[in-house]
Amino acid sequence: MSGRILAIALNTFREAIRNRILYLLLVFAVALILCAQALSLLTVGSEEKIIKDFGLATIDLFGVLTAVLLGIGLVSREIERRTVYVLLAKPIHRAEFVLGKYAGLVLTLLVNTAIMTLCFVLLLVAKGIAEPAMLLAVLLLFFQFLLITAIAVLFSCLSNPIVSCILTLALYVTGHLLWSFDLLRARVAAPWARALCLTLQRVLPDLAPFDVKGMVVHGIPVPPERLGYALVYLVLYGGAVLGLACAAFQRKEMQ
């Protein structure tokens, strides 16, 4: 990482940690994780499962919300405030600006996820149900946040925050439903429709590899190839999205 990207990343991180939305999300997430303990009192058996499910789902949901809500305004806000002109007047490549912004948000998400995970692990330790597999699930969730952030940054380069938010959330939703294209393909007869289903399944982001919450909660070992696949997919697909984001920002006319 070049010094310029690092400087932009650190600056983005500083800016993000001043954002009230981040704290609001974090406080809600921590409160919800701790609420798992209260919820577990309502059940018959499965107290352990409810605490784990609830904790992991909270980290997942609030991590994605943080990625989307901070990511969508990352570039567009700079343009709106015209602070981007100050930066681009310096000897900085536009791609470095985008990558620096992305890296700054990744750093923010890392801190955010670490705090949520710490609360979750403390609760698990207090209940005597801590398992290393939980951290593996959180790691894969973090990979998912990285991909969502890249998508949010791409839309932030292309559009305003509201449209970016809708599109990013739409891709998040479809990213968890790609398996349904298999069902759809089996139902449609026209070859072009089947080809379309297959193309969409390949082109849209697949978020299923990052979701091992159910496996770790039920004590099913996560095969190393699953982790490897998720990592390689993140690098390739995330790289493609960030490449598009850089290209989009490169072509953007600043007035």
Binding site: L42, T43, G45, S46, K49, F54, G214, V217
Partner: protein, 299 residues
């Protein structure tokens, strides 16, 4: 100028008064609305909620809920399971069992098929509360199919067949399934042996109990197994002797004078002895063999 000040002072004073009274009015109005709302809810809340089962009509199958869950299937299953416990604990809802199978079999366990508690709790509600043991067995069968590595589900199904349906053959089959799962506790084998006996297969049951006796490391289990082996041994021996006596009578036209005659005639390879090592009693006048001791288990 002073007039202007005097004229200007009056509105300023009113504005200050308005600023201090205004919010108070709103707070009082809000409090009044809140009190009325609470009273209204307390009085007419039941009408607003509709019938107890009404919300269930909108609960689709777990297969469709999976789509809406967006990767949070387990969390949704947890939420519905928690809700179901509260719902089925409410004895004021008369028609609460109308969608019982749908809730547990088609929704919760469809969202998270490896979640064991809904199978166990659901089947318990079906059996003991709704008096629907066959429904409970359908739920447990699904659990067994989805979780072949869990002994507790076939064990629970076996227990339902044993205690509620008194179908011992079916119970033995479930206990056999549970026993085949690695990690199943020894009590499963004991249940299976007992169900086999109750189903009428005393020879298999004897073999089971003998195997339990030989493998037992615990003195308590060994004693229990021995009691069963003892009584079953007597039952099996007496049955063998009765069959051999009948065969002897068919061949010779008369009852044997003593039990040893069965061995001499080549009908039995050896004359059996009771578990204490004594010969069985025999009355040549009636042709009925008997045991000289007492049944340990009183059967």
């Amino acid at each position: 100028m002073s007039g202007a000040v005097a004229l200007g002072a009056a509105p300023a004073g009113r504005a200050r008064a308005g600023a201090s009274v205004g919010p108070l009015r709103f707070v009082l109005a809000a409090a009044l609305c809140l009190v009325l709302s609470i009273a209204f809810q307390a009085e007419f809340g039941a009408a607003g909620r509709g019938t107890a089962t009404a919300p269930l009509l909108y609960l689709p199958s777990g297969r469709y809920l999976q789509i809406a869950a967006l990767g949070f299937d387990e969390l949704l299953a947890d939420a519905l399971y928690l809700w179901s416990i509260q719902y089925y604990s409410n004895y004021d809802i008369a028609d609460r069992y109308d969608y019982l199978e749908h809730i547990y079999r088609d929704v919760i366990t469809e969202l998270d098929p490896r979640y064991l508690d809904p199978y166990l709790t659901g089947s318990m509600i079906m059996t003991t509360e709704a008096q629907q043991p066959e429904m409970a067995l359908r739920l447990l069968d699904k659990g067994i199919q989805k979780n072949p590595d869990q002994w507790i589900l076939p064990f629970e199904a076996g227990f339902t067949c044993y205690q509620t349906l008194h179908d011992y053959t079916r119970a033995a089959r479930y206990f056999d399934l549970a026993q085949a799962v690695p990690g199943a506790p020894p009590i499963v084998q004991r249940f299976k042996a007992e169900m086999t006996r109750r189903a009428g297969d005393i020879r298999d049951s004897l073999q089971e109990w003998a195997a339990i006796h030989d493998a037992a490391t615990d003195e308590y289990v060994r004693t229990i197994a021995w009691n069963h082996v003892h009584d079953l041994r007597v039952q099996v021996d007496l049955e063998d002797l009765k069959q051999a006596i009948a065969l002897y009578q068919d061949r010779t036209g008369q009852r044997p004078a003593r039990l040893g005659a069965l061995q001499t005639a080549g009908i039995l390879p050896a004359t059996p002895r009771d578990p204490e090592g004594r010969p069985y009693l025999y009355d040549p006048r009636t042709g009925v063999p008997s045991y000289g001791g007492l049944s340990i288990l009183g059967r």
